[in-house]
Symmetry: C2
Subunit: 322 residues, 2 copies
């Protein structure tokens, strides 16, 4: 438990580069901007980095436009947020002068790659850990900071729907809402916005849905997307929808990108683990929600991954800690 | 404000018949069983009634199996819960001896048909009002009562996603979770359970989705359902999904029942009102979520309702109180 070391490292730093992982989700951007704002309120120089494009829905988070792809020059502290291994940072810190690295994350799969590591899988989101840091550092919540941090908590809990939403998390959410954050507005932006074309794509993907050995799955091809004029941003939440099937224990969606690579989004019911399947194919995540990006073509990558998912649906989760 | 009168009427009664509306939703069953349990814990005789079948997902609420269709004999108090007019009770109280009627509801459209009326549209759910009654009557929350009441709050707020979820509501939810209710288990039962056949029906309905003048809509025919072996229980949440379309202000799903009647489920974005459209066609609800049941056939009922919905999508909401 190095929450105290994390606080000390941040308190002592003057010039800080903060980065989060590629293919950023709400928690990545929320914790990134949240910590940057907290450090600035303490009078420090702090710059946010993410070596990837932001999905449109995440650009609604205040200050998202200040994020750059990669840091340059010298900093006296580097901070990695919500990234389980250094490769997930892309080239965000590739051009920067050597400096101590503070690794803050809630993923149980975190490899502990920092100079100081604060990894707490009991946190529902890295943004929740940043909220604790705000308290530890004596930074008070205003409407903007509360909205930024609530985005990560809402994002990683699927809108307070995951089993790890304890009374403590609900009290934190209440505090953030009392400080002025809007829970329905965030849920609306993060989960309830799809283009009409995306809704039609959702329908087309459902037309090909299959259920095999406890695994419900479907495919979104490049052609399906392009016919509807849709880019490759995978915002359908289709795998979360598929796992609602009563007959399924695991759900997967294979989405073909423009470059032919295949994004695999996986979901599991409680007691089953897709994180280790994602990990085996170079990805990561949590037992109930994970993903990976694999080289195509679709017809070659589907059979081995499906086979691993069927095994996971048969075995259940053997690691009770996740 | 007759919360105090409601408390008095319940305190004085010894033998109480409690009823809720037909086509019951989670809040109907939650408030019905919740109040029945509270009265029994006070040593009173209390019986729950609902003159309709319960959808399978609502049978998971504790004590749901004790609900009967219609009351018989004599009671010294009748209570109507979550029903905006007496017709919504069906024949639940048709065979009962005359007695004072306590009308408890949070629908702004409530006609005030009781001897005592406690109608509070500021409540997110009638179950929330029953929670307040539990406090007023000095009945403490245990795990079972907390689970029963949380079901209604979760159900009517779409899992804490509606704009009326204030810090007060979040504090109440926290209390219920602290008392032992499981938020993720309720969300799972109420929103995340569909049969594989229902998921395929969802896909088929999306194949016919249309967007016209700000209204996104589709149809579920009897034939589509029957081909997939599905009954008429309308648990798809399809209209809630459709309102996620960025280009839409109003969403509607027309579902053909076995008897040829058509259930219309309507949703509106903030600032738009489908309750008055539903009301005009003999139904009811709230500005963002409403519904009605109309005689078929489909091809005759769709044009006038669609036309009213398009007008509502054009005008926005003129009544700011809803």
């Amino acid at each position: 438990m190095s929450r105290e070391q994390a606080r000390q490292a941040l308190e002592q730093a003057r010039r800080v580069a903060v980065a989060t992982h590629i293919t950023p989700d709400a928690d990545a951007i929320s914790s990134l901007i949240g910590l940057t704002q907290i450090l600035r309120r303490l009078g420090k120089e702090a710059e946010p980095f993410c070596d990837d494009e932001l999905p449109p829905r995440l650009r609604a988070i205040p200050h998202a436009e200040e994020i750059s792809r990669a840091a340059r020059g010298s900093f006296d502290l580097l901070v990695s947020l919500d990234a389980s291994d250094p490769a997930r940072l892309g080239r965000a810190f590739a051009e920067v002068r050597e400096a101590p690295l503070l690794n803050i994350d809630h993923h149980i799969t975190n490899t502990g790659f920092g100079t100081v590591n604060w990894v707490d899988p009991s946190a529902v989101a890295t943004a929740e850990m940043v909220l604790w840091l705000a308290d530890d550092l004596g930074v008070s919540l205003d409407r903007e900071l509360a909205s930024i941090l609530l985005a990560g908590i809402v994002g990683d809990t699927m809108g307070l729907r995951t089993p790890n939403v304890t009374p403590q998390v609900l009290r934190e959410v209440t505090r953030l809402v009392e400080a002025g954050a809007s829970l329905p507005a965030l849920v609306d932006v993060l989960f309830n916005r799809r283009s009409f074309a995306a809704i039609r794509l959702f329908g087309q993907a459902l037309a090909g849905v299959r259920l095999e050995d406890g695994v419900i799955w479907t495919v979104v091809t490049r052609e399906m997307r392009q016919t509807l004029g849709l880019g490759q941003a995978n915002d359908l939440s289709l795998s979360s929808f598929l796992i609602s099937a009563e007959e399924a224990r695991i759900a997967a969606v294979f989405t073909e990108r423009d470059d032919g690579k295949v994004e695999v989004s996986m979901r599991a019911r409680p007691g089953y683990d897709v994180a280790r399947v994602a990990l085996a194919f170079g990805g990561g995540g949590h037992p109930p929600a994970a993903g990976c990006l694999v080289p195509g073509p679709l017809e070659e990558v589907i059979p081995p991954i499906l086979s691993a998912l069927k095994a996971a649906a048969r075995d259940g989760r053997t690691d009770p800690s996740g």
